[in-house]
Point group: C2
Chain length 483, copies 2
């Protein structure tokens, strides 16, 4: 279990600093013709400076808000006192949210609470409720959540900045109706809305019906919202120290103040990933060697893909850009993906994430000493084994001239996780500048949404419905392509 420490102690903070080792991205380590040269990296300095200036300007002028989230003051106290009320009243806390509204809460929960949290006793959960995140609209899946919670002892947290998210608002309508039928007008004591502070349908509904609310600042988009009320409220409810989390994010802000490419971990990692992509490695694998970090890889997958996957017009030419983030898990995926990473095409870069102190060792007792294939294991620990395997994978990748780098967390706690997530967000925002794209929009998904609106009979989308009908008609003429 996590040791209690004082994240306000500067010495402890320095000891808890996360680090990036990128030697195996470089030709010096993995071989000429395979890696990046120091010269290539240095040549990026001018471009990096421009990207740095533009990003800091966006921050100063409040177009980009995630940098400011570590310093929320009053909202943090509001969240903490609401979370305490939930802890007293509720056995379960259910997030209704999709995309950034789900991935942030899930990543924090997996990282900072014990495994199989929902199976623990309330005492083992330090008196905190169970957590469920309804991040899909599979009817069996959604009904499956409602089956295992008692609505009268549950708080439902609907998260949508605009209030127009079809998936989340459908869930909201279902839950609201169910609660009203069981609890009458007390239904509103079981719902809390996280949404835009002023605009949008959900804000209006919450005001009209008297639901408790928490704000998502207007200049913070879904995938950059983990340190807004979106991530903080669920985290506080399940007992995560959200102040320590924000302190970690603030610390990363400090480390990333410099415009010097070689001193700034987020800028440096963005630049390395950018160069790798330009060198024919469009896939970026994130492979933590710790169960607790696996959903951070999933969170990052949205951040990197949705921010950088764009169609842009550059010098009058249409360009389709964006590396593909891939999540993996060590040591598990050594028995699934490593064969491909080591022997397959030179088309990916692997980021390993290591943990020094797991807060557990899992000692392997001495046994089968006479059997060569097993005897060597006794006396070691699972911690030693997973760390040896991580180094072994790093070596195998390097030996096979595969670009890889390593991020190390001294331990997995709210302070280091705060750093890691903030670093990824800064890295992504900065990478937008390197790719010459806007990392904060997502125009491509709008199109598909409109077809769905048309099919569901939403007013104003009759034209889209017509397109659907035409598509189905054309599909009929191509039905030979099926088996």
């Amino acid at each position: 279990m996590q040791k209690k420490v004082n994240w306000k102690d500067p010495k402890w903070k320095t000891g808890m600093r996360i680090s990036l080792d990128y030697k195996n991205m470089m030709a010096d380590s993995i071989g000429k013709g395979y890696g990046i040269t120091l010269n290539e990296l240095e040549k990026m300095a001018a471009k990096a400076k421009r990207a740095d200036k533009a990003l800091k300007k966006d921050w100063r002028e409040r177009r980009v808000g995630f940098f400011d989230l570590p310093y929320q003051g009053e909202n943090v106290s509001n969240i903490k006192s609401f979370a305490n009320k939930v802890k007293t009243d509720c056995e379960a806390f259910v997030v209704l949210g999709i995309g950034g509204s789900a991935l942030g809460p899930i990543a924090l929960q997996t990282a900072l609470n014990p495994p199989h949290y929902n199976l623990l006793t309330k005492k083992e959960r330090n008196g905190c409720p169970r957590l469920f995140v309804a991040d899909n609209i599979d009817p069996a899946g959604f009904e499956g959540i409602l089956r295992v919670v008692d609505p009268e002892k549950t708080m439902f947290n609907v998260i949508s900045k605009s209030g127009g998210t079809a998936e989340t608002m459908s869930q909201f309508i279902i839950v609201r109706d169910m609660l009203k039928k069981r609890l009458g007008k007390n239904y509103k004591d079981h719902m809390v809305a996280t949404t835009d502070p002023e605009k949008g349908i959900l804000r209006k509904i919450a005001t009209d019906e008297g639901l408790e609310t928490f704000p998502i600042p207007a200049n913070v988009g879904g995938r950059f919202s983990v340190f807004s009320s979106v991530g903080l409220l669920p985290a506080a409810v399940v007992g995560i120290d959200i102040e320590e989390l924000l302190a970690g994010a603030a610390y990363m802000n400090e480390l990333c103040m410099t415009g010097d490419l070689f001193q700034n971990p987020a800028y440096l990692n963005a630049t390395l990933q950018f160069l790798a992509d330009k060198k024919g490695k469009p896939m970026s694998v994130m492979m933590p060697y710790a169960d607790s970090l696996k959903d951070i890889a999933d969170w990052y997958r949205q951040l990197w893909a949705e921010s950088l996957g764009k169609k842009v017009s550059l010098d009058g030419k249409i360009v389709h850009t964006g590396p593909t983030p891939i999540k993996a898990l060590g040591a598990t995926d050594q028995h699934s993906q490593l064969q491909l990473y080591i022997e397959g095409p030179f088309d990916k870069v692997v980021t390993l994430i290591g943990v020094k102190d797991f807060g557990a060792e899992a000692k392997i007792p001495k046994a089968y000493k006479e059997i060569g294939e097993l005897g060597y294991l006794g006396g070691h620990t699972l911690k030693e084994l997973i760390q040896a395997e991580m180094l072994a994978s790093e070596m195998a990748l390097t030996h096979n001239h595969r670009m890889n780098c390593t991020i190390t967390l001294p331990e997995v706690n709210a302070f280091t996780v705060g750093q890691l997530l903030q670093m990824m967000m800064i890295q992504t925002a900065f990478a937008g500048g390197l790719y010459n794209i806007d990392p904060f929009d997502q125009p491509g998904v709008e199109h598909g949404k409109q077809y769905a609106y048309g099919m569901m009979g939403r007013k104003g989308f009759e034209g889209k419905k017509k397109e659907v009908d035409e598509y189905i008609k054309k599909a009929g003429s191509l039905k030979g392509y099926a088996v």
Copy 2:
């Protein structure tokens, strides 16, 4: 919930046949220059015929065993009677396994049992035990499983064909020691080994110590083992109808008997994926629109990556081959990955998996009729919404000239899941022939393992330990590449 049906009824079987719609892989649908032409596909016939012949020969001559798994007879009855004993005696069943030994059991459980299964009451679980799969060696993660089970009411299923898998055998040693301390020599009533029928260390240990065992046929490799005891024993324990599962696999065998490329769903899909890769789409996304199928995508990820990711010598030249499988989940990942899939580079092909009947609807009550952004939802169901969104994604991909195809399951039951998994295995084995590689080995991972053996002090790997020391020394000289 799943309807009770008779999978022996030929009419029902035909109605439950899964289908592949590949029109959007074709230039006829997504546009000239973007898709595959009928001519290109037809030209593959000769190559396909050779691959078919080679594969069927491997089957006949018993080098490849997974085709025969649907017809196990006696082993199935043994598994069923052992599973019944476990159901009576145990509250939990814990798989100790990694790679194929974990992915198969997990995929079956997620597909065929209700969500949040471990949180249901024993009655809701039809009297079956909880299921845990220890598929990693994270010390906190492993101790986390041991914390939530009562060893005296738990059966531990150690799965390793050779018995030499370091991760699994370490877990085995830990659990065996713990059980011995608590139960003395009765420890063996709480362990069952799934391993090679004759060879290997685990077979020897099981024989010496009198553990119950189940066989993995010698000609069945880990990633093709889901229908051997590896997948069947855990499945039977949690109440899955393993005979229906095998009937589905057998049905797919029948459908794939033909060597005619255009009639054989597995061959056809392999060929389409192969051509897509050759056309500069090295990434293959599997995106089911059903929570229940998400771990099948993860299982497939091992199958496709480890089978096809290979370094081979062709005409005296070293070639690195292998597409990269990527798992996604609809509708969830529309809010994460779809932006990249639609606007990013033309470097991937997306396989959507749809379900016609979820066994649930999740009705959305009428509400907020006066609000345009929400009013249209009421009266529909979550099932309609997820299906509309899936078609919308298909259309958006197609409109943007992105190769995609759709697999449809009439419903998710043991018979359709049996078909789907068997189709994927045949497809993969056949693809090995198209790529001119051996889909059944994994030479690349051996290298990394040996470094780990060296670090853990295994005899015979002192040379590898020396390599590790040298690597660390060299790393010291490159420590400037860190921040």
